[in-house]
Amino acid sequence: MFPAPPTFEDLNVWAALPVIILSLWASVLLVADRFINNKFYVAAYSLLGVGISLVIALFQAGDLFDIGESGTAFEGMFMADQFTYVVNIVALISAAIGILISYEYLERTKLDRGEYYILLMFSAAGAMLMGSSNNLSMIFISLELLSIPLYILSGIRRPQEESEESAMKYFLLGAFSSSFLVYGIALVFGAAGSLDLGEIVVVAQTISEQEATQRYLLLIGAGLITVGLGFKVAAVPFHMWTPDVYQGAPTPVTAYMSSVAKVGGFAAFLRVLVTGLPIIAEGGDAAVWVDTLQILAALTLLLGNLVAIMQYDLKRLLAYSSIAHAGYILIALAAGGVPGVGDSAAQAALVYLAAYAFTNIGAFAVVAAIEKDDSTGTTMDDIKGLAVKRPWLAGAMSVFMFSLTGIPLTAGFIGKFWVFRAAMDAGLEPLAVLGVLTSAISAFYYVRVVWNMYFETGDAVVPERQQYLTSGLVITAAGTLILGLLPFILENLVRDASLAILR
């Protein structure tokens, strides 16, 4: 009746190899850091650890060798499937690029400390765990593992006031919203009697036929979890920390966290809502939370895009733009609540996240490249005439801006296309149309950046070329273009990602 005592194989430990390697590597490096004086080596070793983990994740995703079967591991706590692998890859790539673009920046702004890279690795591990959580308590813990390093990283530029304040606000609001997550988990547990997503979904379905009250408790639980995770992914109206923190944090940190927090947050979102709580409403219609998410998505799209228009500082502009992009992924998430669309919506979200990771980290990396040592020089005026002084940098930025707008032949277009199609499949045409309209609005401020670089003249001083940062830029720009030109790469990767248990 019950399974035999678990052995090492039963626990299926190898399935979690990438995240285990990353965590262990970070832990070892934490100790070793005390004995390494040249922080270059800490950065290099961190990159190596992320790289090893990434290679294994790629092998797992491509089914190239069989270590640990797909399916649950650690007695159902951990889920290793194609979704996990893709999340792993995106998080690890973000981490790798994050390390690359950080080194010189930290050095010249005198922030080079070993903990930086270690915290960065830990938070990547948190994001990976969020994508592989099959249990609500895992989601809580991995959320904290993702967040706490980010709280610290965003405040690492001390004793600068902005950095300090924004980190504190981020942390306090974060802790606050985490307690909502716990509250939500408690309610779901109270109604379903289990924390395991696979079991919650069974309960959710059986009670939906008889017990209205319990069903809506589940719904309220889901609502509270939405607040907790919505905060992480900067969905309106839980977004207020974003402009502050993105502006206050050191630019490479912003670059990294803008991507990894979204990857982790949305991965967990999809796991909880699509796998765990596809509560079917009367008459086999869409899940009840679809409406709530639609409202959130609409608010996020509108606010993010509209407020971005008038931003003068690039970091702040990109902060609002990242809020707006959370809105597009929320569209996919909302679509995921419609029966039969769950999987394609999850795939759309993954594609969008992958495209967004390359593009957005790249855009912030350009900002890091032009930023001065005293963390000024990131305004619209500072990029005037950049195309003349640094044509390749301006070219890369243009690629990122076009991709963020969603112009064809860039990764951004592929992501948007996937998302809008999922929305249409799910019958959420108004939301898709709103997405299209707000993309049109977004063109205005993204094009303005390109405009200032190419068609205005300015004499802002730009720091010297930075070798590692440039390599990070090459990777992100190439990634943005390659994913845009050869979308079947992503397609093959996400095709088997499947979340919905109920169909």
Partner: protein, 769 residues
């Protein structure tokens, strides 16, 4: 065929390099590409005229059915020939017009990129492929319009054009996706066969509207027409290419392309005919009130596009034939006239017709081209323009279902305006008295006059030998738009009938309008408020409105006060909760059950409440921390009472630790101050109590239902059997949920690093300040 499209992008990449190396002759070298393309496509003419179609497809995103699919039929052939042919003339023209411009190489690059995108639009046989090239035309045209970016006006114009057409493009994408979903195919040539499915589906109207918005924005139809006159800031070769013959016709092309699958419904007739008719009248009316050559040409272009849309809206075989012929007519004469306008501007230094006269003597070749084009524009035999106009009148008279009288009257009026405008742009500058111009006029170089002459020559040749040259080919073009075979006969003479009378009336009235222009202008000026208060103004107002709204929103949300952020979160959450609870939850099931509560439990609960309230009231930090400790210890006691000794142990030790830490840390901080006003405290209190009440209600609802824990029995039965542990909680933590606990330890470790980092960094950072 893929190479034919891609070659343009390739050439765009190397064009600046070529220009760098050969300088003077770069134009003559680069023109070979469009010429070769023209030749390549023209070589298919015979095949196409025989009714064949040539298709190619390359897989791109298989799971979404997106292919790079191309198809050459009568309609696309007409377009690609115009695009490549006029493109060749423009490359030459541009090489002379911008000969001294330092960034001529970049100009070639943009121009070739645009040409390639345009070819892609015309050849695409997949909705998504089409959209991609469509957007590429928007981007490359933006770069071209902004080419003279030293001027503020030029940049504004480019921005306007991009925003209007770009926004339209996205609407188009949404519409195309709707059509694709409804028809279950992305291949354009398959759409026609699924006409019924599309038109009867519920998505038809939204899809149609979205697609029309895209097409109208691109083809400068009312109310999106206002960007086109501004775009005249572009260098004249660009205007000649984009704004006469190619880009602005992309919208018309798409309407024609989708006519077999979307057309023929009442909605189509009403909207397309209505918008087209309105556009041709409004723009035609404005055209002859300007004196700037390019402005006149811009408005007549809008008017002509209106005529095309108008005809496609009518959608009879005759109307489609008229549209296709007129499309060719207009591309030829308008391309020529724009080039002429550019030449005049280039050679005399002005393009205000009031300052021009008698240029025919000094610029004879240009005058020939201009004359032929203007005659075609006015619709005089034996030029192709005459044939075009005749067919338009025939079509409007025959549109029996659609008020033929009104349509004919509208077409007549639009054509009269057209005649007057044609007279203005040629008679005034080239004849009459010589005027004093900023530069002394002389003939433009060969590269600049060859364009108008060649296009004028085509107009004449096609007019004279229309049936011979165009009949078979246009039969295929019309069939592609009409959706079924249609016999095309062309000729100058149709006998003495109403149509001919209308033509004569048009000419006479147009001539009179031109002759008495000076008398008429003051009368109509007051009518012309539309130009000032029209959609253009709306665009500006809307734009400022968005900016104001944006700053308002930011100020509202991003006020920097943490507590307002919290308040927003709580408020959103509470509203969601209340909404769900009031609509969905059955309150009768709540049971208030206090029978089994023991006295010491009451006391404990009372203690917690008292401590909690103390925290809010006290003004002493230590008191607050102590009260927090009391809450914590009470919670621990509760764990003891209710069978959770492990929790109690942990809670006791951790509570002690946190009190110690808090006291240590907070001792350094200032005393509690009352920062806030009583009013804000009352407000926060209400919010807090509301939320607390919600929580209480929720718990009451939950605990009124019996709970079936799914996992606990499993742990109860297996803790000892499988894991050899007597304490089930511990077994869960270290064994069944071992992974969980590992994560927990990591989190703590990370927090410790953070604390360490915060504390460690003090001395060094102090020094730097």
């Amino acid at each position: 065929m893929l190479y034919a499209v891609v070659s343009g992008f390739g050439a765009a990449l190397v064009a600046p390099l070529i220009h760098q190396s050969v300088r003077r002759w770069s134009g003559w070298l680069l023109v070979l590409l469009p010429l070769a393309l023209f030749g390549y496509f023209a070589s298919h003419m015979e095949q196409i005229s025989d009714g064949e179609k040539i298709a190619f497809a390359y897989t791109w995103v298989p799971s979404l059915d997106v292919e790079l699919a191309f198809m050459l039929d009568g309609l696309s052939l007409l377009f690609v020939l115009l695009v490549s042919g006029i493109g060749a003339l423009i490359v030459l023209y541009g090489s002379a017009y911008l000969a001294d411009h330092p960034q001529l190489g970049r100009f070639y690059a943009y121009l070739l990129m645009f040409m390639a995108s345009m070819l892609g639009v015309a050849l695409a046989d997949n909705l998504i492929t089409l959209f991609i090239f469509w957007e590429l035309t928007s981007i490359s045209s933006y770069l071209l319009i902004a080419f003279k970016h030293d001027y503020e006006s030029s940049r504004e114009a480019a921005k306007k054009a991009l925003i209007v057409t770009g926004a339209g493009g996205l609407a188009l994408l949404a519409g195309l996706i709707l059509v694709g979903i409804e028809a279950d195919t992305w291949t354009i040539s398959e759409l026609a066969s699924r006409k019924d499915v599309i038109q009867e589906g519920g998505l038809y109207l939204p899809a149609l509207l979205l697609i029309l918005v895209g097409c109208f924005a691109k083809s400068a139809q009312f109310p999106f027409h206002f960007w086109l006159p501004y775009a005249m800031e572009a260098p004249t070769p660009v205007s000649a290419y984009l704004h006469s013959a190619t880009m602005v016709k992309a919208g018309v092309y798409l309407l024609a392309r989708l006519h077999p699958s979307l057309g023929g419904t009442d909605e189509w007739h009403a909207i397309v005919t209505g918008v087209g008719g309105l556009t041709m009248l409004i723009a035609g009316f404005i055209a002859w009130q300007h004196t700037d050559l390019k402005k006149i040409l811009a408005y007549t272009t809008i008017s002509a596009l209106g005529i095309l849309v108008f005809l496609l809206g009518i959608g009879t075989g005759l109307a489609v034939k008229g549209a296709m012929i007129f499309l060719l007519v207009h591309s030829l004469y308008k391309g020529a006239l724009f080039m002429v306008a550019g030449s005049i501007d280039h050679e005399t230094g002005t393009r205000d017709i009031a300052q021009l006269g008698d240029l025919a003597k000094s610029m004879p070749f240009t005058a020939v081209g201009a004359g032929l084009a203007a005659l075609s524009m006015a619709g005089l035999p034996p030029l192709l323009g005459f044939i075009g106009k005749e067919i338009i009148y025939e079509a409007t008279q025959e549109a029996h279902d659609l008020l033929p009288l009104v349509l004919t009257a509208a077409a007549l009026l639009a054509n009269i305006f057209n005649v007057a405008a044609a007279a203005m742009v040629t008679l005034k500058p080239f004849t009459g008295q010589a005027a004093h111009t900023p530069k002394h006029p002389h003939e433009a170089p060969l590269a600049m006059w060859i364009g108008p002459v060649v296009l004028g020559g085509f107009t004449l040749a096609f007019g004279v030998a229309s049936n011979l040259l165009l009949k078979d080919f246009f039969a295929q073009t019309v069939a592609a738009v009409y959706g079924k075979p249609y016999e095309v006969k062309l000729g100058l003479w149709h006998g003495l009938n109403t149509t001919l009378v209308l033509s004569v009336v048009t000419l006479v009235a147009g001539g009179l309008l031109y002759a008495y222009l000076r008398q008429i202008l003051p009368i109509v000026k007051p009518l012309n408020v539309g130009e000032k208060l029209g959609p253009d103004r709306l665009y500006d107002i809307g734009f400022e409105g968005i900016l104001d709204f944006a700053s308002l929103t930011e100020r509202f949300f991003q006020n920097g006060h943490l507590r307002y952020y919290l308040m927003t979160i709580i408020f959103t959450l509470s509203s969601l909760l209340i909404l769900t609870m009031t609509t969905q939850i059955d309150f009768d099931s709540i049971q208030l059950n206090v029978d089994d509560v023991l006295l010491h439990e009451y006391l404990l609960a009372g203690l917690m409440i008292a401590a909690a309230i103390t925290i809010t009231m006290t003004s002493s930090r230590l008191m607050a921390v102590a009260a927090l400790g009391v809450v914590g210890y009470s919670v621990a006691l509760l764990y003891v009472f209710y069978g959770a000794p492990d929790l109690a142990m942990t809670q006791f030790s951790i509570e002690t630790l946190s009190v110690v830490v808090l006291v240590l840390v907070l001792y350094r901080l200032p005393k509690f101050k009352d920062f806030s006003t009583p009013r804000s405290r009352a407000r926060d209190g209400i919010i807090a109590v509301m939320f607390g009440g919600l929580v209480t209600t929720l718990i009451l609802i939950i605990t009124s239902e019996p709970l079936q824990s799914r996992l606990s029995p499993y742990f109860a039965e297996n803790s000892y059997v499988l894991a050899k542990g007597h304490n089930v909680v511990n077994v869960i933590l270290v064994d069944f949920r071992g992974f969980d606990t590992m994560g927990e330890i990591t989190v703590l470790g990370v927090a410790a690093i953070g604390i360490f980092a915060l504390l460690k960094l003090r001395p060094s950072s102090r020094k730097e300040e």
